[in-house]
Subunit: 585 residues, 2 copies
């Protein structure tokens, strides 16, 4: 495997003509062009040619169109037996409206590794339709560091989110159907914890009353966005179909009037849910603009869920590539923390290196500069804002995994600001590399790729997790709050305290915790910003996710169904006269 060079003709079904055409340098549009224009400059490789870079035969792929595929279960079962490559985690400073470019850095690093001769793959989450049509737009990278086909990935892709919504809502429907037909299990209608889900930003569905007008048993209910569904977490943490079906049966949906937990398997619905999710559990393969294989699979948000792509995708990629680059959502306090304490803990993964992404612009915002003033060089603001980076670096150093800081460079960045940042990084004891993947693709990320390869030279350490399984739930929450958020303590509201006691009494005290919190501050209040410390973390409510295998803690006002802005992103979208999609990016 190690003498494989992706830029040479691989031993694969790829025809020479295809290869020549595909590797011809595209005519790139001028810098600063919209992402969709840049993406259209590239002819995607047929997906079997992308797969061939990982030694996958075309017959092992389940195609979706010409440029997307799933790896079927018989193949991923085989992959589970193979030796694993090395895993690199990309995480970031606390996000700001100025952007940090975690996804573009993941893509750029993957392309950079391919460029320097590594058999590389990347793993990303699938975008949600909610932000795509609401506020944020798509989530397939940007500039010269994108995954394609962008439109498909941002829309229905291979249908995974829809399958998750269906499975989630089938369970919900069966609960109300059980009540309607006489409630043989004696569910307490006031203690049904399983809500409904939709992959949409829809504020009006947050809280509702179902079963109105004599149509069943009226009760309070609500919708969460699909990215926050426990089914999403289960799909992302399951090792195989058998594990999937078992976890689905373990979901606790309600309590009886006697207070006993009622599970999905008590309603005999876990099998049908597994049937709905069978195909969705198979990892998706696409490519970057430079044709590096990209697994885009599973999409829990990192603020309201556990924030990493699927274990199935990561493990399959590790069995196929020598180096796999993956990302965890939002800042390292949320994404990387959950990546280690939930995903690595459950799946037995050990990353060999961590890349922390920052931009001078975002650091200046953390240093107190308004977004409008970011065009002006301000080394002192960088110095102040670097305290945010230092916090994340210190947290990650605690995990014991080799670390590098990547500055996602903007053309306006000044060399004085870079110098200040280098100085700050020296003080943290961490290397820093400038990367220009957004402007230049892999040509701009070669140095970052080389530095990461240097970090991979040694033996991979076992990551040091933030708490032991057998710590109490309150101690686990406190460990995250104090170690990762710099908080003085946690404050469990009464409801949360009761729930904590119940979960421990039910035997779920050994589970890890998944904190749902604003990504914009170390505190639960976004206004407290990227330097908050010494605060008390308010935990208003817990939620048992017994199938996913963690306990969710809702902090502050965080909600699991977003709303849309006054003029949503959807307002600018449509089909032009030729039927091409406009306004999606």
């Amino acid at each position: 495997m190690n003498d494989y060079r992706p830029w040479q003709t691989p031993e694969s079904p790829m025809e020479e003509a295809t290869l020549c055409e595909a590797t011809a340098t595209p005519e790139w549009p001028p810098p600063g062009s919209p992402d969709s224009v840049i993406a259209r400059a590239v002819s995607p490789w047929p997906i079997h040619d992308v797969a061939a870079r990982l030694g996958i035969e075309a017959s092992r792929l389940l195609p979706f169109g010409h440029d997307k595929a799933k790896l079927p279960h018989d193949f991923t079962d085989e992959l589970a037996e193979r030796p694993q490559g090395k895993l690199v985690l990309v995480t970031a400073i606390t996000p700001t409206p100025a952007g940090e470019g975690k996804t573009t850095t993941t893509v750029g690093l993957g392309d950079g590794l391919s460029r320097i001769g590594q058999r590389a793959a990347i793993c990303l989450r699938e975008p949600s339709l909610g932000p795509c049509f609401g506020m944020k737009g798509g989530a397939a990278g940007g500039g010269r560091s994108q995954v394609i086909p962008m439109e498909d990935i941002n829309l229905h892709f291979t249908g995974d989110f829809h399958a998750i919504s269906s499975a989630h809502n089938l369970l919900a429907a069966q609960i109300d159907n059980h009540l309607y037909w006489g409630n043989a299990l004696d569910l307490d209608p006031e203690r049904i914890t399983w809500k409904r889900t939709m992959d949409m930003n829809d504020r009006a569905l947050r809280q509702l009353i179902v079963g109105e007008g004599g149509q069943g048993v009226p009760r309070r209910d609500g919708f969460d966005i699909t990215a926050a569904s426990e089914i999403m977490a289960i799909l992302c943490l399951a090792r195989d179909l058998d594990d999937l079906q078992w976890r689905l049966g373990e979901i606790v949906v309600a309590r009886t009037r006697d207070g006993a937990p009622v599970r999905a398997r008590d309603l005999e619905v876990q099998g049908a849910m597994a049937v709905l999710l069978k195909q969705a559990l198979a990892p998706n393969l696409v490519q970057t603009l430079e044709h590096t294989p990209a697994f885009v699979h599973g999409g829990p948000f990192a603020n309201i869920a556990h924030g990493c792509n699927s274990v199935m995708a990561t493990r399959s990629a590790l069995a196929l590539a020598d180096v796999v680059v993956t990302e965890a959502g939002f800042g390292a306090d949320l994404g990387a923390e959950k990546f280690f304490n939930i995903k690595c803990r459950q799946a037995g993964l050990s990353p060999s290196a961590v890349v922390v992404v920052a931009t001078l612009r975002a650091l200046k915002m953390h240093g107190g500069i308004a977004r409008e003033a970011l065009g002006q060089p301000d080394p002192e603001a960088v110095r102040r804002g670097a305290a945010n980076l230092a916090r994340h670096v210190a947290n990650l150093q605690g995990a014991g995994v080799p670390l590098v800081v990547a500055i996602n460079q903007f053309d306006q960045d000044s060399s004085e600001e870079h110098a200040v940042l280098r100085e700050a990084c020296d003080a943290m004891g961490v290397e820093v590399v400038l990367s220009r993947h957004w402007q230049e693709g892999s040509a701009g990320s070669e140095e970052l790729a080389e530095r990461v390869m240097a970090l991979l030279d040694g033996a991979t350490p076992e990551p040091r997790l933030s708490y032991a399984d057998d710590a109490g739930l309150a101690d686990k929450l406190r460990a995250i709050a104090t170690q990762h958020y710099g908080a003085a303590d946690i404050q469990l509201e009464e409801r949360a305290q009761h729930q904590l006691e119940e979960y421990e009494a039910l035997g779920y005290g050994h589970l890890p915790v998944c904190i749902a919190k604003t990504p914009y501050s170390f505190a639960a209040d976004p206004e407290m910003g990227g330097l908050a410390a010494g605060h008390v973390l308010p935990i208003r409510e817990l939620e048992l996710a017994a199938g996913a295998g963690f306990v969710v803690a809702l902090c502050g006002t965080i909600m699991r169904m977003p709303g849309m802005p006054e003029r949503p992103a959807s307002a600018g979208m449509g089909l032009d006269a030729a039927g091409e999609i406009e306004g999606l990016s």
Copy 2:
């Protein structure tokens, strides 16, 4: 095209080895085996080989796995210019729990036509997840007359239903978002007619209150099943992407406080909806157990919606095949009526022949025999029940299209009963053919195929529709009730009367009507059975579907969100130890 013989080697990319293997007779399991066991006895052809039977080059397909594909829009645009083959409609008597086999007859006839050398294709609707997990099970035919891959078709297939749900709910979310952000268009929250949708049988969502708990503007709302969504109808009636986007903009979602209609385009959302639906509008291609090309696309129910597969699929099939067999849902009073008065009217289609499917068992039930007693021969019950068939035959004769009755044969059927039925059909002036496609595949439907070909010999007549565009809405409803249902009159409830006047005042009086009514009787009350006549049809409510281009009339207690039985079909489903799906059929 006419000298094409599908059982010869086609001029296609199909390799000889594949063809030999694929055309080898499968080892059929014993008669009476479960549908899933029969389906697994067949190796599906690669979808490009199926497409080759219609002269489609592999490069024109968008593959979904190895045995499903969509026809992309550039290709269907080309097809719109080609000459069209002949269209055969399969419809049925009033359904009973004994089953009639409309879908199996459509499949069997398609295979029979292929067997006798016709370049044939079939067009079916896509199944809904609701009935699949609720009461009915899947909807891909049965016995030796099935479409495959059955599991995929019954589950997420190519994602069309999910895309429809997303587009529908995006519009709903934007309405509540508009209210939240100040309601600049002055929508009357009491007069928002656009509900939400889910592809699920979920009684508790029929009526609900959204926007509770300070999360927006609280108001009464509800979910319909996706098969009843106006978006489903629009997808099934749109001629191309441009027509799709235009129709989406025309949807009327609410009234202002001044009573003026508010359309989707006033909310600037039709473009984003079209983006969500672009891929879903492309017709799906699969195959029968005998590898006849099958277009399975769009799935409105016929009781609560217009009940036919998409115009895109039917027109594409007609451009590719010499004979296309399609079905319309439930009995001819609902399915065929809407097929003529809505689909043919809007799409300019003229069927060349109609097949009316009946079974002796169902006729005996219409003749008053209980389901448990159907095993006993009872020629007199057949004679009584044939009155139901006679009603449908007379209605269809009114359309002026050549007609044949197909008896979907069961092994218990007696020759005395067949003789009685032949006599009854003689009296109706219609030919009758026994068909054994369920037991024998195309070998059992050859005679039916020959008879249908004989009907196609003459020129295709223009169908006589039940009313003119310029008739009033009440006259249109009365025409259907009296001509098709044998009713004495209609009774418009006060609310419906007001709506009718409003729609006509708004300029929508020229639209056809789509009656939502129980399929189990000519009356609105299912208990009145298959021989009801002289009744008054109660119309409780109308609904304007300005994008789909019809006015829905809700009769009796029909609801557009089904519920589940006490023990839903989902309870028997699951994945076995090898990960194979069990219990789905």
